[in-house]
């Protein structure tokens, strides 16, 4: 029997617990007994229940409940102050605008407006509202609701981030900027409850597609006012217990950071075509978690997938993965205000030296399309200029030499800025390598936290910065009006008077083909001058179980829920 041996090493580790040595064990006995018992009882409770019910897939098919992975927790559900895709996905179930979108072509379909007409000069829309459109509390949806809602969106004090969607309307911009205080001078009027007249400052061929954007959706006046002032942000009217909407679904439950549940709206005018009884949106910000939930049948559709799992799905479950073009461009910005990047030849040389095909095949792996223009090809029929950019190392070397850096000699080390993300890092490393090999120039990589990154990009405190742009609506304007002089999203310091003129001209042209010609010329200037380097056109990579029907691919990734249904299935996973 050992009496006193040397203290074992784990105890030496915790010698700061000085009283072990002075332990009066007898006194401790009674007091620890109760703790031990409590622990035992509680542990039994945990182990008690372990019975897995049927998966969400199985119950969803039986009861028409759709389970969707939905990115992050929505900031709010007020259509006039939110901006994100996450919010769009939920709000489009809860509210409906004047027009809706065709699930495949995105062409305008009647929504709250049963019909509409456009004046010959293309500047006056007259909408006839349907007489069976109701709010989820039974109130009628009237033209006045739109008048009131759009005034709310445009009120400067609301600080609605998407107010510019209404800028094509006469005086809307002036009212939103506080230059005009009389809303009656804004080109919106409601002569009777079923008629809404919109006067546009200039013909806007894409105006109808703006009306299916959530920022132009109506809100229920009495509900908003019951919980705060008209221009007050973040009041409680958007909570599940208060929300009154006019869309195909009503907000049933909103559990913060966990679940948003919407159920079929019995007051919806077209409720007969709504097949789903319920949609559950899960805010899942981790792609790995989301993929696991999808795999075990907890989700019907996953909004994202880890890049390293794409190949495996394509091989083993091609019926569950879909890759579709998306209206967005991944690109790099050049700061044209300093260093060698002031010279357009240098910028174009950098752009020509990148093998985009290798980037999408070996790195992004999501079926992305190499981009040689800023506007994605075939954006509502618009074909951007081709042939200005390509993969041409010889020309790139030549241009760099012309700019005074033969074989990269004397070229300073530039910094490539990107926000912290493995995907961005891998692309940056590859681009860095390509520039080194093709042009013999050295680039330093710098990754920054998202907000620092945004701050530096906006204040032009960078040389080269990663960027991405997703179109708000299907029209080249949403891409090309970014790069007008001092545009808020320009962020390159680039300015070209002729470009500005062409974009301004396009805005006034009612004829689509001459409008597209103006855009084409403008984009040519943009590509030749190269304040940006397009890399690839985004794709939407999505996981979806095959029993979900009516969820159709389109470039905006919009999926009107009233067309979606779930086929009965035998789930054997």
């Amino acid at each position: 029997m050992r009496l006193h041996k040397q203290a074992p090493w784990p105890r030496r580790l915790f010698t700061e617990i000085h009283w072990i040595r002075n332990l009066d064990a007898q006194a401790v006995i009674k007091r620890t007994r109760s703790i031990t018992r409590v622990c035992l009882v509680l542990s039994l409770i945990i182990i008690a229940s372990c019975d897995l019910g049927p998966s969400n897939r199985a119950t969803g098919a039986a009861q028409q409940i759709l389970h969707l992975g939905n990115g992050t927790e929505p900031k709010d559900l007020d259509p006039h102050i939110v901006t994100g895709v996450t919010e769009h996905n939920i709000i489009s179930a809860l509210l409906e605008g004047l027009v809706t979108e065709h699930p495949k072509t995105l062409q305008p379909q009647p929504g709250v407006a049963a019909s509409w007409s456009l004046s010959e000069d293309g500047t006056r829309y007259t909408f006839k509202l349907r007489d069976n459109a109701y709010w989820s509390n039974g109130d009628r949806v009237t033209a006045d609701d739109f008048l009131w809602s759009w005034q709310r969106l445009l009120m400067p004090t609301l600080a609605g981030e998407y107010a510019y969607q209404l800028y094509p309307i006469v005086n809307a911009a002036a009212f939103n900027k506080g230059e005009l205080n009389d809303f009656s001078q804004v080109g919106i009027s409601a002569p009777d409850p079923q008629t809404l007249i919109i006067d546009l400052a200039y013909p806007t061929p894409y105006f109808l597609s703006l009306l299916s954007h959530f920022s132009t959706f109506p809100v229920h006046k009495d509900t908003v006012l019951a919980h705060g002032k008209k221009d007050e942000r973040g009041t409680l009217w958007t909570r599940a217990e208060n929300f009154v909407g006019n869309g195909p679904f009503v907000l049933e439950e909103w559990r913060l950071n966990y679940l948003i549940k919407v159920t079929k709206n019995p007051f919806y005018w077209d409720q007969e075509s709504v097949a789903l009884n319920e949609i559950r949106f899960y805010p899942i910000d981790n792609a790995q978690t989301e993929e696991r939930m999808f795999r075990t049948g907890a989700l019907h559709i996953a909004s994202s997938i880890p890049a390293d799992k794409i190949a495996s799905y394509q091989q083993n479950h091609p019926e569950k993965i879909s890759i579709n073009p998306y209206l967005g461009t991944y690109y790099y910005r050049f700061n044209v205000t300093r260093g060698p990047l002031v010279d357009p030849r240098v910028r174009r040389a950098l752009s020509l030296a990148i093998d985009r095909q290798i980037l999408v095949d070996a790195i992004t792996k999501g079926g992305q399309i190499p981009a040689f223009s800023f506007t994605p090809p075939n954006t509502q029929g618009y074909q951007p200029p081709s042939g200005i950019l390509s993969y041409d190392v010889g020309l790139a070397r030549q241009l760099l030499a012309d700019a005074g850096f033969p074989n990269g000699k004397g070229f300073p080390t530039l910094e490539l800025l990107y926000n912290t993300s493995d995907g961005h890092r891998r692309i940056a490393v590859a681009v860095q390598q390509m520039w080194k090999e093709a042009l013999n120039i050295t680039i330093a990589l710098s990754n920054q936290d998202w907000k620092v990154f945004l701050d530096r990009a906006q204040s032009l405190d960078y040389d080269i910065a990663r960027a991405g742009w997703i179109g708000d609506y299907a029209d080249p304007n949403t891409f090309l009006d970014m790069f007008v002089t001092d545009g808020g999203n320009n962020q390159t310091g680039w300015s070209h008077p002729q470009y500005d003129q062409l974009i301004a001209k396009a805005a006034t042209q009612a004829d689509q083909s001459s409008r597209y010609k103006s855009f084409y010329k403008a984009e040519e200037l943009l590509l030749i001058d190269s304040p940006i380097m397009p890399i690839y056109t985004y794709t939407r990579v999505q996981l979806m179980h095959p029993e979900v029907k009516g969820w159709l691919a389109n470039i905006l990734d919009h999926h009107p829920y009233k067309y979606v249904y779930i086929e009965p299935i035998a789930v054997n996973e």
Binding site: M1, L3, P10, W19, D24, V28, A159, R255, Y258, R292
Partner: protein, 307 residues
């Protein structure tokens, strides 16, 4: 004891004050703001937003008004989730994280104490080395590896347990609790072993053996209760650690707890939310340490609460 408690609480006030002040100025000095986004806002809109949240005031003024509200128990609105107050978000997330931490702690205690006892019966033998090596591995294995590993085995391959959620499907609390608990189980195993070996060398254990009691009886009746004392002292700080460190597990298992809010708030520059959660967690850590000190003394009558 009351006097001791009150004194320690008073000491906590300057600590918290420093924490709040430092956090306030740190988050405001970080580049970027709550309203920066990839799509730049028009200047007029940004001005209106800043005015709404008083971000256009000088920083010292913002600080004073924040402290003023804080004294009245008002943590302010969340900058990101515009229809939520920080208080509401904390009240939503904290109970969930608390429950998760509690289960994790129970699992840690069950596994840790059993392993510690087994190891302590024959020190420096295989029976000691094997559980202690496992414990060391448990300390080293991070939860972002442990979680997906458990999910892969029990959630996907065996299909026994849900892979996500909290309170929605039966059994969905098991894997997160195990993931969070194992690391602490390892610590507890080591502490138990140490405490047990110490107690097993005491005279009264020798007496018990001399009287002919069996080893399990000696452990259960006599040694365990003394041997567990170091574990009890560890519970307070460990629980605070579980609360503050639940972020990874909450992300892996899609649990709407406080840990996710905390980290997301920092990324989003949600100033009020960062401050609210920091204040809450630092208060909890201070409190748990006080409780742990009191518990230590309560367990050992030879100590008193003099300082």
């Amino acid at each position: 004891m009351l006097k001791f408690f009150a004194a320690r609480l008073l000491q906590a006030i300057p600590v918290l004050f420093v924490v709040i002040t430092a956090t306030f100025f740190l988050v405001h000095s970080a580049p970027g703001g709550p309203f920066d986004a990839e799509k730049t806002l028009p200047a007029e809109v940004l001005d209106n937003l800043n005015a709404r949240y008083n971000l256009d005031d000088p920083l010292y003024k913002q600080y004073l008004s924040y402290m003023g509200n804080l004294v009245q128990g008002d943590f302010g609105p969340s900058f990101r989730y515009s229809n939520r107050s920080v208080t509401e978000m904390i009240l939503t997330g904290l109970p969930i994280t608390f429950e998760l931490a509690l289960y994790a702690m129970l699992i840690a205690l069950i596994i840790g104490i059993s392993a510690g006892i087994v190891a302590s019966i024959r020190p420096n033998s295989a029976q000691d080395y094997i559980p202690m090596s496992l414990a060391m591995a448990g300390i080293c294995l991070p939860s972002f590896l442990m979680g997906p590993l458990l999910v892969l085995i029990f959630g996907i391959s065996l299909d026994w347990l849900p892979v996500s959620g909290w309170g929605y499907a039966p059994g969905d609390k098991i894997l997160p609790a195990i993931t969070l608990g194992t690391g602490y189980a390892a610590y507890i195993a080591r502490l138990t072993r140490g405490g047990m070996i110490e107690v097993m060398g005491q005279d009264y254990i020798r007496t018990a053996k001399a009287k002919g009691l069996s080893t399990p009886m000696i452990i259960y009746r006599h040694a365990l209760r003394g041997g567990l004392a170091p574990v009890v002292a560890f519970l307070g700080p460990a629980f605070a650690g579980l609360l503050a460190g639940s972020f990874v597990v909450e992300t892996i298992f899609q649990i709407p707890g406080l840990g996710r809010f905390y980290v997301q708030a920092a990324f989003n520059r949600d100033y009020t939310m960062i401050l609210g959660t920091t204040i809450l967690l630092s208060t909890l850590i201070v409190l748990f340490n006080i409780v742990s000190d009191i518990l230590t003394v309560w367990l050992n009558p030879r100590l008193t609460l003099k300082d």
